[in-house]
């Protein structure tokens, strides 16, 4: 502190330097937020970044291995037994479904529609890496080299988990459906009501803030993807409604839902390829309000699924 006589240029901690660096950081942030081309720099830097991801993922990987190594025989036998039963049940259901699916296929041919029930999927593993506090993202161990593209839906055995938002050569970042920036067109299975499920601030549930007052919604209703917007194929389970109450505005009902996918515990997930054609009415009219590039959606703005216009809702 001795040479503090001219505080503006005092050595390497000068205020001017600080202002310079802060300004540079702000310019970077604005550029990155506005047009996202910084992602290309990240793609270039992936050679250095990805090994670090693998390294940081090692503790979690080690924990998984340890939990298998130290699990007692009884536990593993039980698990094996349960998996066998599940498989048997699933196979039995599939056999019954096969006949129905064939009939469905036939009827669809008669109706001259292209949509098929076939699923083209790719198995991926979750890399245990924390991408920032309160960022509801996952890292997968497949990337652009494995043919993964931004926008692909990600599911697990129980339901929809999220969608790929960014790809590196051998890893991909997934935005979870519980991310506050995510919006997912859903339909309520029992009544067929179409609405939109948003992620929540806390990141552990879904919020459906725009259900019409007159609509009949109960706790326990199951949510499925509606396929509107064309990002997610229709008919995948999304969650189950846990609470319904009038919204604070008094104009709508607001419901909360528990995601059916095992969002914080899944180790293996499925990536869907060849997304189905969007069902429903033709391309939505552009929503009212500011243009999409001004939408306040953080880094995920480019990848947020298009929100269908309000006119869709019955």
């Amino acid at each position: 502190m001795g040479q503090d006589s001219s505080p503006l240029f005092a050595g390497s901690t000068g205020t001017l330097r600080l202002i310079g660096y802060l300004a540079l950081a702000m310019v970077l942030m604005v550029l990155d937020h506005r047009n996202g081309w910084m992602w290309r720099i990240r793609y270039g830097a992936a050679v250095a970044v990805e090994p670090l991801y693998r390294l940081a993922g090692l503790p979690v990987e080690g924990m998984r291995t340890l939990s298998v190594a130290f699990a007692d025989r009884q536990h593993l036998t039980d698990q094996n037994q349960r998996l066998r039963e599940d498989l048997l049940l699933a196979n039995a259901k599939l056999n019954r479904m096969a006949a129905v699916a064939e009939q469905n296929e036939h009827l669809k041919e008669l109706l001259d529609t292209q949509r098929s029930l076939e699923l083209n999927v790719q198995l991926a593993r979750v890399v245990g890496v924390d991408l920032g506090a309160y960022r509801h993202r996952l890292l997968l161990n497949v990337g652009a080299r494995d043919g993964v593209k931004p926008g692909q839906p990600v599911i697990d055995a129980r339901g929809v988990m999220g969608q790929v938002i960014q790809t590196l050569p051998t890893t991909a970042v997934v935005m979870l459906i519980t991310d506050p920036n995510n919006a997912l067109p859903v339909t309520i299975e029992r009544t067929g009501l179409r609405t939109i499920a948003y992620g929540s601030r806390e990141g552990d549930r879904l919020i459906l803030p725009t259900i019409p007052m007159a609509a009949e919604v109960q706790v326990g209703d199951r949510l499925l993807t509606s396929g509107l917007g064309g990002r997610f194929p229709p008919g995948f389970p999304v969650g189950q409604i846990t609470r319904v109450a009038p919204a604070t505005t008094g104009m709508f009902l607001e419901a909360q839902a528990q995601p059916s996918a095992d969002i914080s515990r899944s180790e293996d997930v499925l990536l869907l390829h060849d997304q189905a054609e969007p069902a429903g009415p033709p391309a939505p009219v552009p929503p009212m309000g500011p243009p999409a590039e001004l939408a306040p959606a953080g880094a995920g703005s480019a990848a947020a699924p298009p929100r269908p216009a309000k006119g869709f809702q019955p």
């Binding site: 390497s12 950081a25 550029l31 506090a133 880094a299």
Partner: protein
């Protein structure tokens, strides 16, 4: 000469380790308690060997952390630069504080850092974070004496500058 180079590698090594610790996830329950490791390690070096840590190195480390996080380039660069600036300004005073006072100062620095982050996120259009958002600086401050003593001890053992 060799010892000097070793010291430099030790410095870089601790910073890389801090970045890795930032990436390692904790179990869901503990997630809000995770301290901001890069800030703690950088603070240690700013206090102990102030000529090595400059605003430039803080900025570079922040950029590296942003590349890893993949969220918004420049966010952590801004936060770490501001943090190191304050630490270097009050370095001579902070160094001779007793440990509990130093811990309080670190708490203030980390809280300031959290406020900066909140401002950046809100400007970027994110929702305001929940209350558990504010736990992390307190955990960081509580860990500070241990981080400080551990790093200091290791440095003494290795007889590095």
């Amino acid at each position: 000469m060799n010892r000097q180079r070793l010291g430099l590698w030790w410095f870089i090594g601790t910073l890389v380790f801090a970045l890795l610790s930032m990436l390692v996830p904790l179990p869901d329950v503990l997630e809000p308690f995770k301290p901001y490791w890069p800030a703690l390690v950088l603070l240690y070096w700013a206090l102990e060997s102030g000529d090595r840590v400059t605003l430039g190195s803080a900025f570079t480390m922040g950029l590296a952390a942003d590349l890893l996080d993949g969220v918004l380039l420049g966010e952590q660069a801004l936060r770490l630069t501001a943090l190191v600036f304050i630490a270097l300004r009050f370095r001579s005073r902070l160094r001779f504080f007793p440990m509990w006072q130093q811990t309080l100062a670190v708490l203030a620095l980390l809280l300031n850092d959290r406020i900066l982050l909140t401002i950046v996120r809100v400007f970027a259009g994110d929702a305001l974070p929940p209350a558990s958002w504010w736990i992390s600086p307190f955990v960081g401050a509580a860990l500070w004496p241990f981080v400080f003593l551990l790093l200091d001890d290791l440095r003494m053992r290795l007889r590095l500058q």
